[in-house]
Symmetry: C2
């Protein structure tokens, strides 16, 4: 369970002389196994909110409670454990390591987690098959197309079967067919493994498939919409 209480986050620039309000008094609860879309215009605060929930950015005010634990009270070491144990993250700009192949990028979270080599190879081969890039395993990021990089990033986020996956524009860089495959894949994982998903998106088609949509504008949640399919 994720609980955000009066969450605010500003960015300071120019040595603190300029203050940009990115998130303001956000109050939401997200239950285990939910599939939620975060929808909003460019610059509305989506990436900032995902980074705060993911423990990469510290909130200025308010609480971030994950299964009852207040992230703002954790030490940096505890935050790293929280991130590797519980969370898979798909960045808006991929963040793949340029000197490693697709295979090695996906393998990395499994190495951090201390998984034995045999198990790692089996899991990575499973994931590359699942996301449709098994023919590109030996390519490095600069030898992959934009969409292929995104699929590597998705496979890497799923490596340790995390309890929660935070995905920043997972279908931003791919074509309609690939986007549909990716979304079906994410929904399958949500239904079969009970993984909680929070996806940021601009794509109105994403509204059709998510069960809940949080609309964000200028750092505030303006609407919390439950989508029921007839």
């Amino acid at each position: 369970l994720i609980e955000l209480i009066d969450l605010s986050k500003d960015y300071l620039m120019d040595g603190g002389r300029i203050r940009i309000k990115a998130l303001e008094k956000i109050n939401i609860k997200i239950g285990k196994g939910e599939f939620v879309a975060l929808m909003g215009a460019s610059g509305s605060g989506k990436t900032t909110l995902l980074n705060v929930i993911g423990g990469m950015l510290k909130a200025d005010n308010g609480y971030v409670l994950i299964d009852g634990v207040n992230l703002t009270h954790l030490t940096d070491k505890q935050l790293v454990d929280y991130r590797t144990e519980k969370i898979g993250y798909i960045y808006q700009s991929f963040n793949l390591l340029s000197n490693l192949t697709a295979f090695e990028n996906i393998e990395l979270p499994l190495i951090f987690h201390g998984r034995p080599r045999e198990e790692r190879i089996k899991r990575v081969n499973e994931l590359t098959e699942l996301v449709g890039i098994s023919k590109r395993k030996e390519h490095k990021p600069n030898e992959l197309s934009g969409g292929e990089k995104q699929r590597v990033a998705i496979a890497r986020a799923m490596a340790n079967k995390p309890k929660m996956i935070l995905a920043d524009e997972p279908t931003g860089n791919v074509d309609i067919q690939t986007a549909k495959q990716i979304v079906d894949l994410l929904q399958e994982i949500n239904e079969n493994e009970g993984t909680t998903f929070i996806l940021s998106t601009h794509d109105l088609k994403m509204v059709d498939i998510c069960k809940r949509v949080l609309w964000i504008s200028d750092g505030q949640i303006t609407r919390d919409q439950k989508i029921t399919r007839i």
Copy 2:
């Protein structure tokens, strides 16, 4: 006028042992002032084709004729002149310089072109207004959202009023409203300044606004569609 004759491009990996066919026997002509979309699935060869037309990648076989000049016969120095004189490029992954502000990133092509300071400031202020980021001029790329980076990249491509703009997924990272604003902007430039546009996209909505769509699949142009609006 752009003329591609039997254009092929392979990528070699692993010291030449693996060969990936990215473009194969492409034959197309694009006239001055056209507004063309390059539509295809992830990995179909769109970025590779834009890079060959833009003079960043050398073709393996065939001819790339721009206004009658064969790019494959140019020296590296002549290629750099070709790129700064004639072409504005919007990369799929922004490629902004991380240590410069939005203002300085947009100003850079004007500095290369030897424009005086007064004229540069005026032009950059015009462009930031045009693409809607005048409040973020002093931000560095890591202080901008994904969509804001894209708008900086578009403004930079337009700095020297190039004859041709090659745009790789210009609306990939932005919301529907912003995408519409960007496309309207690019069309305005096409109509007012006669700039030739070639855009790669996955977005079927782009088909509606372009006058011509080249469909690419597995490195080959499979269809050349003129779109006439009723």
